[in-house]
């Protein structure tokens, strides 16, 4: 008993790991890193209150904290309806119960409640493993959060306390969101879950409007946008007023590569150049030098894990082929040499030496791998349907992609595959056209686009296909890339 307590005290991380390895495996998709519902620690998170002016932002705070913890996929949220009426807000609110010595021999000792206590939350009906409490105050025009986390298996408040920390934000909803996310990140760290705090999703949106050409035809302009991982702070990054697509972000988050139709003016009319790669600084939004290989199409840019080179697809001898250059376009080299359309090269982020790409060399577009020098090409999918949009999980163990297998041409679904086992696992099942999966830095979330009806929007989900959440709704949004924060 004592040993077990020591073990638990030594780190919840260890316990979660043990659960993962030894716990029962419920039915469903088994993805390393994705904790199954029955194996998740249960956390109780009562609504926090604010003193005075701080109360105004507490709806936003409570909503954010809850969705951050629930959306992490690492915790199970104990339902609020089961919580006791007396909710502690700080350590001093806890009152250990008094246990009386029995008067008669053999009688049970009597427990007298003196106020809120840990067992209110660990026992039925809440049955939580952990409890997050706290409160906010307005202090010097700032929002101050006092946040606490308790491990409910402990017998004293002092030994149960895992977090006791103060957070500062602006006295408004933005400040409430910030402190809620920071507190959530600290809680998640206790459970070994990686926080997505600071990570960004870059994507393509057509919401900036429609362009009318001199001949009267119209098309929706596409530009590159970015947003926080939860859909907040959506921001337009490019203003080319044409079709700008296929964003890629350097591993350090500083460079943004994408494809656009360079505009020039001839006889007073704007003319599209052939689609080419552009390089921008994320921070300043300025265009940097990138010399494209002279070709009718240069597309699908992707940075190497060291951030020093760029892979892309370029039409050489009439066929788009996998090529590589420095990030300014210098030292151009062709990698694949075959009569087929080959696009979307993606380098293994762990090894830097293996490339996934989409090739039609066997007929339909399929997922292939090769070494970065072009050697040992190997088809990873079965040859059925069309495959598109490969994305590596940051650890290089899994890959996500879009595939039409089992459906009509064009009806893509999201699949993932263990690169060791090579068995594809289908995560979406025909609800709309699902494409462009991109792994989150935590390795357990995916962002993807889904076209349902006429509208294409971005969604996140856990890598076992659960917890689907919509991030966008303005215009059409597609081709998301989930990048680490910098």
């Amino acid at each position: 008993m004592k040993f077990r307590i020591v073990l638990v005290m030594s780190g919840v991380l260890l316990m979660t790991g043990a659960l993962l390895m030894l716990g029962q495996q419920p039915t469903g998709v088994d993805i390393p890193g994705v904790i199954k519902e029955g194996e998740k620690p249960v956390i109780a998170v009562p609504d926090f209150r604010g003193a005075g002016d701080a109360q105004k932002a507490m709806d936003q705070f409570n909503k954010t904290l809850w969705s951050e913890l629930e959306g992490s996929g690492a915790l199970k949220m104990a339902p609020k309806t089961l919580y006791p009426l007396a909710i502690p807000q700080q350590p001093s609110d806890f009152r250990p119960p008094t246990v009386t010595t029995p008067v008669t021999r053999g009688a049970q000792p009597q427990v007298i409640k003196n106020g809120p206590w840990l067992t209110d939350w660990s026992g039925p009906p809440v049955n939580a493993n952990d409890l997050a409490i706290g409160y906010t105050v307005a202090q010097d025009g700032r929002l101050v959060l006092y946040g606490y986390l308790y491990n409910l298996s402990q017998s004293t408040v002092a030994s149960a306390q895992l977090i006791n920390k103060t957070y500062f934000g602006s006295l408004d909803n933005a400040g409430a969101t910030l402190v809620a996310r920071q507190f959530a990140a600290d809680i998640l760290q206790q459970f070994g879950a990686k926080s997505l705090l600071g990570s960004k999703i870059f994507f393509v949106s057509d919401r900036s409007g429609v362009k009318t050409l001199p001949n009267g035809s119209k098309f929706p302009m596409k530009e590159i946008w970015s947003m926080d991982y939860d859909g907040s702070n959506q921001k337009q990054l490019t203003f080319y007023k044409t079709t700008t697509t296929e964003p890629a972000v350097s591993p350090d988050g500083k460079l943004l590569a994408f494809v656009t139709y360079p505009q020039s003016t001839r006889n007073g009319v704007e003319v599209d150049g052939q689609p080419q790669i552009m390089m921008h600084s994320v921070e300043t939004g300025r265009r940097l030098t990138f010399s494209n290989f002279v070709s009718s199409v240069v597309e699908t840019p992707e940075f190497t894990p060291d951030g020093k080179r760029l892979l892309f697809s370029t039409t050489v001898d009439k066929d788009p082929q996998v090529c590589i250059s420095d990030i300014n376009g210098g030292n151009f080299q062709r990698i694949s040499r075959i009569r087929a359309i080959e696009v979307s090269p993606k380098v293994n982020p762990r090894t830097g030496s293996e490339v996934l790409f989409i090739s039609g060399r066997s007929g339909h577009q399929q997922l292939w791998r090769m070494n970065i020098d072009g050697s040992d090409p190997e088809m990873l999918t079965t040859g059925e349907g069309d495959v598109a949009n490969p994305s590596w999980r940051p650890d290089g163990q899994f890959v996500a992609f879009a595939w039409t297998r089992g459906y009509e041409p064009g009806n893509f679904n999201i699949f993932i595959m263990d690169m060791g086992k090579r068995v594809p696992i289908q995560l979406t099942h025909g609800m709309g056209r699902n494409e462009n999966p991109s792994w989150a830095p935590d390795g357990i979330h995916l962002v993807f686009s889904s076209k349902q009806g006429r509208s294409t929007q971005l969604f996140t989900m856990l890598a076992d296909g659960t917890h689907v959440q919509q991030l966008t709704n303005a215009g059409n949004n597609l081709e998301p890339v989930w990048a680490k924060g910098n």
Partner: protein, 267 residues
């Protein structure tokens, strides 16, 4: 061996018998036929002699098309019964009971068919409307290249492709042959003119793949034009993949309209 020879002989006899049977069928034994049947057998068929006292009947007298532009033709067709003398005015003249004739009126003209027979006469008229061509485009404000652009936008035919293919189909061959004639005319009148061939795809493939496929389609169309003798340096290509669809419905009709190479002035 002997069996084989026997089989061969039997087969040969069978063939002879068959030939004999065929010959006997063709033997010129004229069957006795009733006169009417004999008449109907006699080629070519001619109209039955008009019965006395029956008024001529004009079953059909029409022009197709009924509306043309100057220089174009329309086909008159007719079918008349019970007439001995059939004429069409406007210099067409005497005609047979059934027939067709191409006519080339320069202005709207009414053709009248008159049929006379022992029982009297009958008339029917048909009018071919000749519409004047659309007025010539207003004189180009920016020199000849604009008019070349206008001609191209008005007359160039789109080139269509099969799903996931960039091969030139038979209908695409015809469209490109006409486009080649058109481009030759425009290139001859405007030495600065150049054309851009846009390659487009339907929405089913991925955006990245379609950029490659549209590129292949644009270059196959260009290659075909160059084979027909057009100058390669005056033809540019650009792939729009599935980014600039002409329609957005999810059905084969719309997919086909989007799987195209389109010729546009390169400005």
């Amino acid at each position: 061996m002997r069996i084989d020879q026997k089989t061969v002989r039997v087969a040969a006899m069978g063939a002879l018998l068959l030939a004999a049977a065929a010959c006997s069928k063709k033997a010129p034994i004229a069957p006795v036929l009733p006169p009417s049947a004999a008449a109907s057998n006699a080629p070519p068929p001619s109209p039955p002699p008009p019965a006395k006292g029956v008024v001529p009947r004009i079953d059909v007298f029409m022009a197709n098309p009924s509306s043309i532009q100057p220089g174009e033709s329309s086909t008159l067709s007719w079918s008349v019964a019970n007439a001995t003398d059939i004429t069409i005015d406007q210099n067409v003249g005497t005609v047979a009971a059934n027939g067709t004739r191409d006519v080339f009126p320069n202005t709207t003209t009414t053709f009248t068919l008159a049929a006379r027979g022992p029982g009297g006469m009958a008339n029917r008229s048909v009018t071919i409307a000749v519409t004047s061509p659309p007025p010539p485009p207003p004189s180009a404000p920016k020199g000849p290249s604009v008019s070349g652009a206008e001609i191209l936008s008005r007359e160039a035919q789109d080139v269509y492709f099969d799903y996931d293919k960039s091969d030139i189909r038979e209908d695409a061959r015809q469209a490109l042959t006409k486009d080649a004639d058109l481009l030759r005319r425009i290139f001859a009148t405007d030495p600065t003119f150049s054309v851009v061939i846009e390659g487009h795809c339907d929405e089913r493939g991925s955006a990245e793949y379609n950029l490659g496929l549209g590129d292949r389609r644009a270059s196959s169309a260009k290659d075909f034009l160059v084979q027909l003798g057009l100058p390669t340096d005056r033809i540019r290509t650009i792939s729009y993949g599935k980014e600039r669809p002409v329609c957005t419905d999810a059905n084969e009709g719309c997919y086909q309209r989007n799987r195209r190479a389109h010729l546009a002035p390169a400005q």
